[in-house]
Assembly symmetry: C2
Homo-oligomer: 461 residues x 2
Amino acid sequence: MSYFDVASTAPLHPVARQALNAALDEGWADPARLYRSGRQARMLLDAARETVAEVLGARPDEISFTASGTQAVQLGMLGAVAGRRRTGRHLVHSAVEHSSVLHTAERYAAEGGEVSAVAVDRHGLVAAEEFAAAVRPDTALAVLQSANHEVGTVQPVTEVAAAIGGVPLLVDAAQSVGRLPVPSGWSLLTASAHKWGGPAGVGVLAVRKGVRYVSPLPADERESGRAPGYVNVPAIVAAAASLRAVRAEAERENSRLHALVERIRTQVPRLVPEVEVVGDPVRRLPHLVTFSCLYVDGEVLLGELDKAGFAVSSGSSCTSSTLTPSHVLAAMGVLTEGNVRVSLPYGVAESDVDRFLAVLPEVVAGVRAPLGLDLAAPAAARETLVIDALGKRCPLPVIELAKRIGEVEPGGTVAVLSDDEAARLDVPAWCEMRGQEYLGERAAAEYGRDRGSAYLVRRVG
Amino acid sequence: MSYFDVASTAPLHPVARQALNAALDEGWADPARLYRSGRQARMLLDAARETVAEVLGARPDEISFTASGTQAVQLGMLGAVAGRRRTGRHLVHSAVEHSSVLHTAERYAAEGGEVSAVAVDRHGLVAAEEFAAAVRPDTALAVLQSANHEVGTVQPVTEVAAAIGGVPLLVDAAQSVGRLPVPSGWSLLTASAHKWGGPAGVGVLAVRKGVRYVSPLPADERESGRAPGYVNVPAIVAAAASLRAVRAEAERENSRLHALVERIRTQVPRLVPEVEVVGDPVRRLPHLVTFSCLYVDGEVLLGELDKAGFAVSSGSSCTSSTLTPSHVLAAMGVLTEGNVRVSLPYGVAESDVDRFLAVLPEVVAGVRAPLGLDLAAPAAARETLVIDALGKRCPLPVIELAKRIGEVEPGGTVAVLSDDEAARLDVPAWCEMRGQEYLGERAAAEYGRDRGSAYLVRRVG
């Protein structure tokens, strides 16, 4: 079984397993107690808090451990709006937040709060100026995810924080903590250990010093009065240990996973007819990609992929048991049916990804077969050959173009990706000389690259 | 180190450790997912729920797993009063509930609810009729612990439930689940796995079918909408496995622990001057005993006992870091200073208890030494020799009395415990014949026995 659903929960990191068992031996006692085993548990808890604080760029006393990411979001949001009650009762969040944010906002609205949801573009991306425009003098709190849990789009957190001025910003960083650096600008930050390879049962709520916070729950002296109940030291120790481990692995794994996801992003439209890859091609999580297949029931597709040995997810990550259309995809205005989210774990084998790409076309075709549709060939096959000449100096980009244009049928398109300025002149010139049609220049970002341009050529003959 | 603080947290049961590691292998995936590993996690979760339901005498769909006992209490209380809002906004609880109950009641009062605390007797025991007298037509909820967490007194839950009629009763069973059968009569029941040898991070909230419940938290589809956040399947599996295991051991261990606690209850007043053993001597948890030492700072005493190798607790179990006087002891009207709570784990060695009794007198004397007090001999030494003749047929009780009365000084008292009706006539008769003073008959319960009478004799010569 290839597990491609790390955005739901990551397999327990070996370091977490080790730390958990060690802490069950050494840190099982009540950290509030004054005897030796209690003091030992307290020391382990303090050390874990320092580790997490360091990774998040926070002070240890700004960190409270909660029972889950959802609880961190609920407490963070309700505590922050309660702390700012005198300022007003208005809440702003993006339209593509996790359901825990939306549900907490609904509860707030039911109790008299006013809520604005900021629209996103077709890639699920928030625009800082649009977000700022939704903020009012009576806005108590703004909420924005660091990256979207369904489509992987990385949000402009720092820009939004700057644009909204003094309004506290709660950043739901569940999908990025451990993988990407924490963006600056947050006033409150939430995360969930089981998303980064820690155990279940540990969330993080960070509240910057100076941010007004009034607990929405009955009094409890644990975790600075922010998270109630007995403190789960062994799980917290394991969470911190695995956070440190994944941060150390992140750079290497991220570029590897980024390339594997790029392969999926590129290949799926070439292999499967009537499919749409969604989410921002450039500002994206390294390990996550989502696509939607027209004419396909998502639940059936997931079942068939499961039989083929692939665990993937579909639709809104927290409503999959009901399989209602994802509010994220709906807000983006993209296809919501036949939705598949692939999120790759650290250490995934390249061959597993290739096997997925090999199996996917027949699985989708099998699900579609009873419909008796006559589908066109995959859109990408009709469209564009991408020649990646990034980093190559002229005349290499033009030489590649000349060598490979024969791979597309007449009428087909070639995109030459290049970051050499000379290509801007050379490609049109080559077209004129050889009687091919120059179609113009686009950002290479549209092809998932972070620099350079794409020069489009239609093969005429 | 002898760990005598199982009422704070029990060491992880070996079965729990084993089940935890197995479930980390087999049940780590998201139980809301439809692929194989998700379905497997769901099956393990369902099985754990059935186990817990069976032990609690509930239906599986009445059980929700929370993140802690405190969270179970908070959600249970707030959800139940919200569900009964139309009936009224009045809450009744005993004066000796856990701080999580008191804090939730405070929050309820701050938001417009009215709260009545029912007094207890000197043993910390609630009287069913007094509890019922506090209930009014607008009472939304009554809350009563199954057994007190500080002094071990077992409350008359079933009698209270019957006395208050249709008012829902929330029973905080944190200290008794796994050890004693669950009392009947509850409408809501809360518990905490780490108290019975399960892992931290698992609480239980049981809500009887038909009891109105409105979640006080934002919507979340997990755990019947009652407990938010990702479900911690491995910890829940471990909690259920250890619950089953401790229930199977309970009968044997309970009678052993009951006898060891009885030894502490009897010996401490004989060994330490100016000490008061508190809590009901008969209606009590098998493993827990609390005593208070006059002229002693509790924190200092705990520190000295820690140095001597004993981990014990003091005062209110959830405010020990502040060491404010325990609200439980205050409500009982007993001494609150120099308080020590001993709660014995399953499997504790008898020799550890004896070592505690050997060490305690000098530790207390050492703490008191700087005060320069001239303390009388231990009260018990001046008072009563207990002859346990329970189960012995006449004339054995009188023979024991004749043989042992010389052990007390003239003026001292002997209590003959007997369940043979003949003793009621024989002991006074023997006194008249031998010129000793017969003082009368008391319930053997006053000496911690569950049957028989105590016949008191003062040695005259």
